[in-house]
């Protein structure tokens, strides 16, 4: 057991400050365990959102020493023995209290996305998909909606362009629908105009923070940007579409 210094931001949207706590840490603990110990012993009113403690519910997103992370997946032994650990709420979303933020904006964006519209059923009434077609969209279904990618995305975090860009999480949702072999909805115009694919400058921070290791930029956002290029910026493909009257 060793004593560690935690510096936790306490407050509400109206204001707050960092408060320091000295707490005993046992081997094998993660940051969320230590926050629970502080809550139990030193600050009963400390607000933390958490649920599964296994990196699968996406609830305990916060910023630990400045990096967006899941508190339940951040092991204490990765910090130096004398290192102070600063814990803050996510920057991109409004603070509710202490480490809890209001992430409802993400759900509002999700509602704007045109839903899955499947092809008509074949004569036997059974849809069939081969594994190779399932694999690609399956990666996107791993998302646990922790919104760390939304938090770290500088377009939302620092450039205040929530009005024009839905962020990486919703781009991944769009990719899961747009690349689905049974889907017939055309979301490419909305990708460019409403969801702001051009605002992303692919600095890949979203991929770096994803706890599910989804290749958000390489497999989601860039392929979507390329589909926008197909439709709007490629004169040769435009000519082919005109000649063959394709979408």
């Amino acid at each position: 057991m060793s004593e560690r210094l935690f510096r936790i931001w306490r407050g509400t949207a109206a204001g707050g400050s960092f408060v320091e706590y000295r707490v005993d840490v046992d081997p094998g603990m993660v940051v969320l365990d230590v926050l629970h110990r502080i809550q139990a012993r030193l600050a009963n009113d400390l607000a933390i959102r958490w649920n599964c403690k296994a990196g699968k519910c996406g609830s305990c997103s916060m910023e630990i020493n400045g990096r967006p992370r899941l508190a339940c997946m951040t092991r204490m032994n990765q910090f130096g023995g004398a290192e102070m650990i600063a814990v803050q709420p996510m920057k991109t979303f409004p603070v509710v209290k202490d480490l809890v933020t209001d992430v409802s904006w993400n759900y509002e964006q999700n509602r704007r996305i045109p839903p899955f519209r499947p092809k008509p059923r074949p004569a036997d009434g059974q849809y069939r998909m081969r594994q190779v077609d399932v694999d690609r969209v399956q990666e996107f279904r791993k998302c646990i909606e922790c919104f760390l990618c939304q938090d770290v995305c500088h377009v939302l975090r620092d450039q205040s362009r929530k009005d024009a860009f839905v962020g990486p999480r919703l781009m991944i949702r769009l990719a899961s629908l747009e690349m689905h072999p049974l889907d017939t909805e055309d979301r490419v115009p909305a990708l460019r105009e409403e969801f702001g694919s051009g605002l992303c400058n692919i600095t890949r921070c979203c991929t770096e923070v994803c706890p599910e290791q989804i290749q958000i930029t390489d497999n989601g956002i860039i392929p979507l940007k390329e589909r926008v290029v197909d439709r709007y910026f490629d004169p040769l493909l435009g000519l082919v579409r005109k000649v063959f009257r394709r979408k």
Binding site: N65, G66, R67, P68, V95, V155, L199, N201
Partner: protein, 274 residues
């Protein structure tokens, strides 16, 4: 670097962060590596000389569209695609064949999805690091304003693919001196160069999209199954796109340095030609 705290205790301003790790190392290395390459490539292009040491041709000067045969270390006139240096060339610019071709590989790298990340972070500070304050700007427009030109990356790719074949042809010629087959250090250097470039070019995100990524169904017919196989191969290269990008960038500069030093008489090529 004016900093002010706001709800959540986050500080705002350029490079403002509560990160405690050395996040600035990556952008700094990029500035040094990419900046160093651009400075060297510009200098080498301005020289217009010492780019040939039979049978080695510097990749910065290939293909040779026109040649000024009077320049020191110039290739023989027979190597030019269109003959002697044109009279209409502005006199304030040196007669350098590199000026006529470097725009194509330059455009490919400048619009590359990997390099965009690298220079947006390290040169433009948008942002300099993850969860690090960006350079302040009035209204961020990403790649919808002037940078909309990035969408032409696939056209730069088409030229880049052509350059691979040209550089492999140069590598093939590098094994023949005065019609006699042989191997020199330069032959190997010039063979590795297009190989690294091919690894970089054929792992390109736009290429990955064009060969198969644009399909929604990989199993719907024979052609889509074939394209899925190609897409999988390209995806393997794409995973290491950054490593290919840096290795090929370094090697193309090294190839020029090597040929230049041979041509200037500073180095002696080890070869089977004696």
């Amino acid at each position: 670097m004016a900093e002010a705290a706001r709800a959540g205790g986050h500080i705002i301003g350029f490079a403002a962060t509560t990160r405690t790790d050395r996040w600035w190392v990556g952008p700094l290395l990029t500035v040094l590596g990419l900046g160093g390459f651009v400075v060297y490539a510009t200098w080498a292009a301005f020289q217009g000389s010492h780019y040939y040491y039979g049978p080695y041709l510097s990749p910065f000067y290939s293909p040779l569209l026109f040649i000024d045969p009077n320049a020191p270390g110039a290739a023989p006139l027979g190597q030019a695609w269109f003959g002697t240096w044109p009279s209409w060339w502005p006199s304030f610019l040196p007669a350098s064949p590199a000026f006529l071709i470097l725009v194509f590989p330059g455009a490919f790298r400048a619009t590359c999805y990997y390099y965009r990340k690298a220079y947006y972070r390290s040169f433009f500070g948008t942002p300099p690091g993850c969860a690090v304050g960006p350079l302040p700007r009035r209204r961020y427009r990403g790649e919808t304003g002037l940078l909309i030109v990035q969408n032409l990356h696939r056209y730069a790719l088409y030229f880049a693919i052509a350059f691979i074949f040209i550089l492999y042809d140069d590598a093939f010629r590098a094994f023949f001196r005065d019609g006699q087959f042989g191997v020199g250090v330069g032959s190997v250097v010039l063979l590795i160069n297009p190989t690294l470039l091919a690894g970089y070019t054929f792992g390109c995100h736009s290429w990955r999209h064009l060969v198969g990524g644009r399909l929604d169904c990989f199993s719907c017919d024979r052609s889509s199954a074939l394209r899925h196989g190609i897409w999988k191969g390209v995806s393997i290269l794409n995973v290491g796109h950054m490593q290919w990008a840096w290795a090929s960038l370094f090697w193309v500069a090294l190839s020029d340095v090597y040929v230049r030093l041979l041509s200037m008489g500073v180095l002696r090529d080890l070869s089977t030609w004696g």
